[in-house]
């Protein structure tokens, strides 16, 4: 190795370092947040996690078609110095008609539209959904509608997603699936509804 070659080599090191810096975001591929690699190829994905559960007293839902809004906080990895970000996910919990007035039936949806991520809204008035969302509910019951691309979800109908039946069928518009759903349970002792977790996927 002569002096010129050595100098060239020495000069190329920082250049490659800079290139590596440029490519470094791609290393994120090695640790995905979306789902695990098959066969446990690398490490476990760092999935977003719930910050704290959300509770509602059952008295907040005196009758069917009462809807409550909430904001669910989720800790998700972010490529900043802090390494994580608390993202706020707006949600709806809706009481749907049960068999009797004391039968509490709920659906809990993330309000982030599964189509393109806009925030959909509750449309109790069928005239509004007919005028602005191109969908007239046949029985005049409330639905959910997204303002971005006019997808409409019916909480009373089920849709098959990858062999699993989910409530919130897409009755109009381009959405490929029902809204993402919260896991919740009824606490009989304290008469509360506890929302614990959110289905994975999508961008908050």
């Amino acid at each position: 190795m002569n002096r010129r070659l050595f100098l060239k080599f020495a000069l190329s090191v920082p250049l490659f370092g800079a290139l590596l810096l440029f490519v470094s975001p791609l290393f994120r591929y090695l640790k995905p947040t979306a789902g695990p690699f098959p066969h446990g190829m690398v490490s476990k994905p760092d999935m977003p996690s719930s910050v704290k559960p959300i509770t509602f007293p059952l008295s907040a839902f005196p009758e069917p078609w009462v809807v409550q809004e909430f904001v669910y906080e989720q800790k998700a990895p972010e490529y900043t110095r802090q390494g994580a970000q608390i993202s706020k996910i707006p949600g709806y919990v809706l009481r749907i008609p049960g068999k009797s007035p004391d039968d509490y039936q709920f659906v809990a949806y993330s309000r982030i539209c599964p189509h393109m991520g806009c925030i959909f809204r509750y449309l109790p008035d069928p005239a509004e959904s007919a005028a602005s969302f191109n969908y007239k509910p046949p029985q005049g019951l409330p639905v959910f509608g997204c303002p971005c691309h006019l997808s409409v979800y019916d909480p009373l109908q089920d849709q098959n997603v990858d062999g699993k039946s989910m409530s919130g069928k897409v009755v109009s518009g381009p959405a490929p699936r029902p809204p993402r759903q919260f896991a919740f349970h009824l606490d009989e002792a304290s008469k509360t509804l506890v929302i614990t977790d959110l289905e994975r996927g999508g961008i908050a």
């Binding site: 975001p25 791609l26 994120r28 591929y29 995905p32 947040t33 979306a34 789902g35 690699f37 098959p38 977003p48 904001v71 998700a76 990895p77 972010e78 490529y79 900043t80 970000q85 993202s87 706020k88 707006p90 189509h115 393109m116 991520g117 806009c118 925030i119 959909f120 809204r121 602005s132 191109n134 997204c146 303002p147 971005c148 691309h149 006019l150 109009s172 518009g173 381009p174 959405a175 490929p176 996927g201 999508g202 961008i203 908050a204």
Partner: protein, 476 residues
């Protein structure tokens, strides 16, 4: 001398190298080689106009950076402060409208190159570069308008960040070979790499839109122009081209137009971004409106593939136009294809502004419009070249299929009994909807057939017109 082989690798390599270098030699990014034409036609000033507006945008951008705070909490307030200052407000308007002007000029330039067939005779790379410049300008605009942190910006970014995630999911309608291939490839790849989600997270800098997204977009907004500026300066320096090939009065006019727009129509602010409320008519910046409407009409997977694919399809179509004709009136297929693109861009933009999108009614109409216009183009081509195979392979089958399509659209529901039932092919109630429509088995056959015909007739036409020109030359 050596042996004459049917193919000679070194020679082929040499040819390939010459092919590339010939095309690189024909590149002119800002119409620097069109100086003789500029005097007679303003269309040939578009490149210089784009450069002029670009430089204005870079300079005004540098001034704005001094006053802007790239943080989700302070960005909106800092822009209000900029807006309230008279001079800075005008500078911000010039930056915004200058960016829009670059996109307008580059779009018009792409259309000019298409209609005048400037990609012929070794101009392919120049056309591809014009497309790349247009896409880069649009991307720069997208990264720029998030920085305002208003509602429009936030929700446009949400959609921009969400749509790559569809590359991981299974494509919903796989009704013939090519879509099936695309769908299976992305799905299998997605299972191993989660490419869609990871691309989206790299764009946003995390699983949601936040400070990391803003920092990323801020640096990209700079980076695109910075890198392009360095490359274009090297290009001008190496070739010793003049930078702005415009007469002085015309430079002054264009700057005056920009100033006038800024003063008459101050750049809007919108309302502060609120991640919890999406306003009902939510629009993107004007150059993405047509794509927004496409998202309303199409299944999201295919909308993603189309959005990414449009520039590539345009470039592929350019390579198909290999006949010798340059006159737009003598290559009607390609002229009409560009007109369809232009009309749909404008109509889709108008429709989304009016919030008109009926997924159950509109998509078949757009499909029919395309077929009718392409048939007109074929007839036009026949009128020029009198090639009988145009009728045989395209016009007659297309009319038959359009008739069948029309029947599908108006046919009585539910299916009548007897012979007519055969036409329904196990679909008793065809919904007027592209998703449902595309699942129809006759649609599959029809679609494959029309594509085949389109490909065949394109090849016939390109070779046919070549023959025509040769004959004319012989006669003369």
């Amino acid at each position: 001398m050596g042996v004459n082989l049917p193919f000679n690798p070194p020679q082929m390599l040499d040819k390939a190298f010459r092919y590339v270098s010939d095309r690189f030699a024909k590149i002119d990014v800002f119409d620097e080689t069109k100086t003789d034409l500029q005097a007679s036609s303003p269309w040939y000033q578009l490149g210089s106009i784009a450069y002029l507006y670009w430089i204005i945008t870079v300079i005004t951008g540098l001034i704005l950076v001094a006053f802007y705070i790239p943080s989700t909490f302070q960005a909106y307030d800092s822009i209000i402060a900029i807006k309230e200052n008279l001079i800075l407000g005008i500078i911000r308007g010039m930056h915004k409208y200058g960016g829009d002007a670059i996109i307008i000029a580059s779009t018009l330039k792409v259309y000019r190159m298409w209609f005048r067939a400037e990609y012929k005779n070794k101009g392919e790379f120049a056309f591809i570069l014009a497309m790349i410049i247009l896409v880069a300008a649009m991307y720069s605009g997208l990264t720029g308008y998030l920085l305002i942190w208003n509602q429009r910006a936030f929700w446009a970014t949400k959609i921009f960040g969400t749509f790559p995630t569809y590359l991981d999911v299974k494509a919903p309608t796989e009704y013939w070979f090519f879509p099936k291939l695309v769908g299976t490839t992305t799905f299998l790849l997605g299972q191993y790499t989660n490419q869609g989600n990871n691309v989206s997270q790299m764009l946003l800098g995390g699983a949601s839109i936040g400070q990391a997204t803003m920092t990323r977009f801020f640096s990209l907004h700079f980076g695109i122009s910075l890198i392009a500026l360095v490359i274009s300066e090297l290009y001008f320096y190496k070739n010793r081209y003049k930078r702005i090939n415009l007469p002085r009065w015309s430079v002054l006019t264009f700057i005056g137009m920009l100033l006038l727009t800024t003063i008459v129509l101050p750049a809007e602010m919108g309302s502060r971004a609120n991640p919890e409320v999406t306003p009902l008519p939510i629009l993107s910046d004007w150059y993405f409106l047509a794509l927004y409407q496409l998202l309303k009409y199409m299944d999201p997977y295919w909308a993603t593939i189309w959005t990414v694919g449009i520039p590539f399809i345009t470039i592929a179509l350019m390579f198909l136009d290999f006949g010798p004709e340059r006159d737009p009136w003598k290559r009607p297929i390609f002229t009409v294809a560009a007109i369809i693109g232009l009309i749909d861009f404008i109509l889709f933009s108008i429709l989304i502004i009016m919030n008109v999108a009926d997924i159950n009614r509109d998509p078949p109409i757009w499909y029919a419009q395309m077929i009718v216009m392409m048939t007109v183009a074929e007839l036009w081509h026949y009128a020029i070249y009198r090639q009988i195979h145009v009728w045989l392979f395209f016009v007659v089958p297309n009319l038959l299929l359009s008739g069948w399509y029309f029947f599908l659209y108006v046919m009585p529901k539910p299916a009548p009994q007897g012979f007519m039932n055969l036409l329904y092919a196990d679909h008793p109630s065809i919904v007027h909807n592209t998703f449902e429509f595309a699942k129809h088995p006759y649609f599959t056959m029809w679609f494959i057939y029309s594509l085949l015909l389109l490909g065949l007739s394109l090849i016939f036409m390109a070779t046919g017109s070549k023959r025509q020109v040769a004959q004319e030359a012989k006669a003369a």
